[in-house]
């Protein structure tokens, strides 16, 4: 990560990864509802929707994701979806976070690494 660039937290990583997963499954239609479901499905935890929306907004302000409005649909009371996509900067930060985490695990006693899995 270049100096001066702020890293991303665990929850931000989860949201970014969830966007990528949903994106891959539904070809560009990642928005609030499936993102929350994806995180809950993969982590087994209940996630606060409010936290997801605040995080999405923050990530967008930092240029890590971009958003656009889809066509309004009837099942949403005539409201459009706000779809999001992970930008290159977001991907770079995700990869960097993963590498940093991996380096932190490197060289630890196998009993610790094994216990964690």
């Amino acid at each position: 990560m270049p100096p001066g660039v702020q890293g991303i937290g665990e929850f931000e990583q989860m949201v970014l990864l969830a966007i990528l997963h949903v994106d891959a499954q539904s070809r560009g239609e990642a928005y609030g509802v499936p993102i929350v479901e994806e995180i809950e499905r993969r982590t087994g935890r209940t996630v606060s929707r409010a936290a997801v929306y605040v995080t999405l907004r923050r990530l967008e302000k930092r240029g890590l994701v971009t958003s656009w409005m889809s066509e309004p649909t009837g099942e949403r009371g005539g409201k459009a979806r706000r779809c999001v996509r992970v930008e290159r900067a977001g991907l770079d930060l995700l990869r960097e976070s993963r590498r940093a985490m991996a380096r932190m695990w490197d060289d630890l006693d196998p009993s610790i690494v094994g216990g964690a899995s």
Partner: protein, 907 residues
């Protein structure tokens, strides 16, 4: 499924979300709501939705506020200041109104709160309580006996550390000869557990100190340590002589500690087993702490049960007594405090009503002036929200600044006013819980009021002014007519109310002040106290001489003996002083004329068949030398002879002011006086009535000048110099007398000699408040001056507000008729007719206001006429009429100057 989330929750969600994410998030929740409702049911899904809305609101609202502030706050503030500067009259007048209202409201509420329901600055101070027996038939507090306290200690589980105290002023001399007076509390050691304040040095009292065989010990307060021991860094173990008993200092309490009231020295109570006889046990003050988990209510219930049991066991002693418990410092203030607080309160409320009416008027008037600006800004693209926020910011700057100034004034004034208050009450110092600062509650209250004020002044008129379409408003304004604020008949109502309120309340406010208290016929000039006409206050030295029982007095006989001994000692002091070469004459009285002796309601029945005359007067108990000392001569009847000073005597003298003010000049000699009970149930000294045997000229020496107060002079029989049964602390007081000394011209100062004489006569005597008559009456004068200053300043400010308010209202209401005037001018109406039509209507509005206000003011002023009040009524009316009519001139001239063609074209 077409079910939609509850509309209210959905609306709340929309309001909480920023515009750019609103649609996406609301749609997401709608989508999930619909899908969940099919599987989970309506109620569960609605609850889920509500929880989501709350969570999202909680996350986004602070973010929105933070986002909004930095970008627009600075600009709003800058614009606010510019606009406030652009309308200086309205800014200054409105600002002063809010400042005065805040200073009065905050100051009065803080003072009354500290007086009536203060908070003890002690750990869990609200759980410290006071218990007393109430005589239910007499409605009087009779204190709690040591026997009662022992019973309560045993049988009331809601209370712990129940203890007793007695307080007194006590002369003290240190082992190095430093002398002074301490406010002493004889108390149970549990007091220190109840208050939970550790000593600054040494230790507090313990139960061992209370045993009869224990050596005498004292714990000193911080200021007693500073004065009596000169702040000795090693005070523990030093000796102090208290009422002649050498006593060891074992501890020093930290600064500000003064439990139970104003004390700065604590010694063991000294309870003996004989004190626990229910019939003879002395009655004292009490304290206790609510036990863990107990409440005032649970303690009250337990005490009620114990009280009923005691009444059943001993109906003669306890039949009419009822134990009552309350927070320790909470009290109903005594007579003078109630009078002062209620009097000031009434005046403040009257003045505040006028001030508030003016601020509202000005707020609307300002909005009218700015209608054009608002319409133009709207047409240039400013949103309604933006304009309302801007106007709110302006109001907030104005109200916030004025509130801050008002609170500062209240804070500065409180210290001074409370000092004078306690000096007049002759308390040695304010109670230890007294706080001259503003409490957090008061500050929060004032801030909330400021915000509400800003909303009222800024937002409400702004919402009204920005409603409706822009185009018609611009059209109306360019034609010179009124804009959106169609108030119509309401303007007339506002003007009439404004004038009526000012006319009705302002002279009344002055009149309430001028009438004064205690039923005295004080003229308005009392606001200018006359400092001692006819005598040199410096020629008189005065002091209070008192004596305290070293041990609590148990029986009536013990009390009578103590009083008799005190009388002999007081007379010895008088005789010793009389021998001093610097002294011309000495007298003893029950108090300082016009200060600490009671005002009573009195009824006079004459020897003839005339109906009884009622009035108010003060009773001063005097010895034989007092009237000579004051150069007062008998002008009718006879002086008090030696026989009149016998205990069974009913003879009294009255002064000339009594004859003129109470009797209306009728003959006083031979009249019989009856006294009624005071409001607090206190029986006056001469409960059995009295006969007037003579009239004396008004003594020259009086706090307010000769002849201001009707006074009854009764013989001072020192044995029954009663404990003062009222006063701020409502505590039983020891015998007390006032010494008056008239000095020989050019004599050396007497103060030091006075201390020496008193100490030589008996060390148990104590001397306080030594000074010249001018010193003694100083607080009355200062109090009067401060009161007069505040009332006059406030009345002047409110009058200025009223005049400005009426001017603004009249000016705006005529401005709104500009188009009508211009058109009438254009169609050929004569100018004189137009002008007279405008003035006729304005004059009618003003006249109706004056008439309505006078309906209230005149009857009251006629009832209790004071010259100043009538004059102030006339001044108020004249100023309002002038301002109102002058306000019409400018707009009328402007309207008449509009070209007729332009006026018609616009139409």
């Amino acid at each position: 499924m077409n079910a939609a989330p509850p509309a209210l929750l959905r609306r709340l969600l929309e309001l909480a979300l920023p515009h750019e994410v609103r649609e996406g998030i609301v749609g997401d929740l709608d989508e999930v709501y619909r899908s969940r409702r099919g599987t989970s049911g309506a109620i569960t899904t609605t609850l889920w939705y509500a929880a989501q809305v709350l969570a999202i609101t909680a996350r986004f609202v602070p973010e929105r506020i933070a986002d909004a502030l930095p970008s627009s706050l600075g600009l709003d503030l800058k614009l606010s200041l510019r606009m406030l500067a652009k309308y200086p009259l309205l800014t200054v007048v409105g600002g002063i109104a809010v400042t005065v209202a805040t200073a009065l409201g905050v100051g009065a509420s803080e003072f009354v709160h500290d007086l009536v329901a203060p908070e003890l600055p002690l750990e869990e101070g609200e759980r410290i309580v006071r218990i007393a027996q109430i005589d239910t038939e007499a409605g009087a507090t009779v204190g709690a006996s040591l026997y009662d306290l022992a019973v309560w200690r045993e049988s009331v589980a809601s209370l712990e550390d129940v203890g007793a105290f007695a307080t007194m002023e006590q002369g003290a001399v240190s082992d190095r000869g430093e002398a002074g007076t301490v406010s002493l509390a004889r108390t149970n050691a549990s007091m220190f557990r109840v208050t939970r304040v550790p000593p600054l040095m040494g230790r507090v009292l313990t139960e061992a100190d209370e045993r009869a065989e224990a050596p005498p010990v004292v714990v000193l307060g911080y200021d007693a340590w500073q004065t009596l021991l000169d702040g000795d860094p090693d005070p523990i173990g030093r000796m102090v002589e208290l009422a002649g008993t050498p006593t060891t200092v074992v501890g020093i309490m930290p600064e500000g500690y003064g439990f139970p009231e104003t004390q700065n020295a604590w010694v063991p109570l000294g309870v003996e087993s004989a004190d626990l006889d229910p019939a003879t046990s002395p009655r004292l003050g009490s304290f206790a702490r609510l036990a863990d988990g107990a409440t005032l209510e649970s303690a009250r219930n337990e005490l009620e049960v114990v009280g009923r049991r005691a009444a059943a066991d001993d109906p003669e002693l306890y039949g009419r007594l009822e134990p009552r418990i309350q927070e320790f410092a909470r009290r109903a203030p005594g007579g003078l405090a109630v009078l002062a607080v209620s009097g000031v309160g009434i005046v403040c409320i009257l003045l505040l009503i006028v001030a508030c009416a003016n601020v509202v008027t000005l707020a609307f008037a300002r909005m009218v002036m700015r209608e054009g600006e608002i319409a133009v800004r709207t047409s240039l693209g400013a949103t309604r929200k933006r304009i309302v926020l801007q106007l709110f910011a302006e109001a907030l700057v104005l109200v916030g600044t004025a509130t801050a100034i008002g609170m500062t004034i209240a804070w500065l004034a409180l210290g001074r006013i409370s000092r004078v208050f306690f000096e007049v009450q002759q308390a040695p110092r304010p109670p230890f819980w007294w706080n001259d600062g503003l409490s957090a509650t008061t500050v929060v209250y004032a801030v909330i009021l400021a915000l509400v004020g800003a909303v009222m002044i800024g937002v409400v008129p702004a919402l009204k002014a920005t409603g409706g379409a822009v185009q018609p408003r611009l059209g109306q304004l360019s034609a010179g007519g009124g804009g959106n604020l169609k108030l119509g008949g309401r303007w007339t109502v506002l003007i009439v109310l404004q004038v009526a309120l000012s006319v009705a309340l302002l002279p009344l406010a002055v009149s309430v002040d001028a009438r004064g208290g205690l039923g005295d016929a004080r003229p308005a000039s009392v606001l200018e106290p006359v400092p001692g006409i006819g005598f040199q206050p410096g020629d008189y030295v005065t002091a209070q001489l008192g004596r305290d029982a070293v041990v609590p007095l148990r029986t009536d006989q013990e009390e009578a003996e103590f009083m008799a001994t005190s009388r002999v000692l007081f007379e010895q002091v008088r005789d010793r002083l009389q021998e001093d070469p610097a002294v011309q004459a000495v007298a003893l009285t029950s108090g300082l004329s016009a200060m600490n002796h009671g005002g009573v309601a009195v009824e006079l029945t004459s020897a003839g068949s005339e109906p009884a005359i009622s009035g108010g007067a003060r009773i001063l108990l005097i010895d034989r030398s007092y009237l000579d000392l004051m150069d007062a001569t008998v002008v009718a009847g006879q002086p008090l002879g030696p026989g009149d000073f016998a205990p069974e005597s009913r003879s009294v003298l009255v002064n000339e002011a009594f004859v003129s003010n109470v009797l209306g000049g009728r003959n006083a000699i031979g009249g019989q006086l009856r006294f009624s009970e005071g409001e607090d149930g206190a029986v006056p000294v001469l409960a059995g009535g009295a006969d007037i045997v003579g009239v004396v000229s008004n003594p020259a020496i009086d706090a307010y000048g000769p002849g201001v107060h009707p006074v009854i002079y009764a013989p001072l029989d020192l044995a029954p110099v009663r404990p003062r049964d009222s006063g701020f602390l409502n505590m039983p007081q020891p015998p007390l007398t006032q010494i008056f000394v008239r000095m020989r011209p050019g004599a050396e100062p007497l103060a030091n000699r006075l201390y020496e004489i008193v100490n030589e006569v008996d060390p148990s005597l104590r001397l306080t408040a030594v000074g010249t008559a001018a010193d003694a009456w100083g607080p009355v004068h200062t109090g009067g001056r401060i009161g007069a200053w505040i009332l006059r300043a406030v009345a002047a400010i409110v009058l200025m507000l009223s005049v400005a308010g009426v001017y603004a209202l009249m000016s705006f209401t005529v401005s709104r008729r500009t188009r009508e005037i211009a058109i009438r001018n254009a169609v050929g109406a004569r100018r004189s007719e137009i002008v007279s039509a405008v003035f006729r209507r304005s004059a009618a509005q003003l006249a109706v206001g004056v008439a309505l206000g006078s309906l209230v003011a005149v009857p009251v002023l006629r009832d209790r006429v004071a010259e100043g009040s009538v004059r102030s009524l006339l001044i108020v009316v004249a100023l309002l009429l002038t301002a109102g009519l002058a306000a019409c001139l400018v707009p009328v001239r402007r309207a008449l100057a509009i070209e007729p063609a332009a006026a018609m074209r616009a139409e």
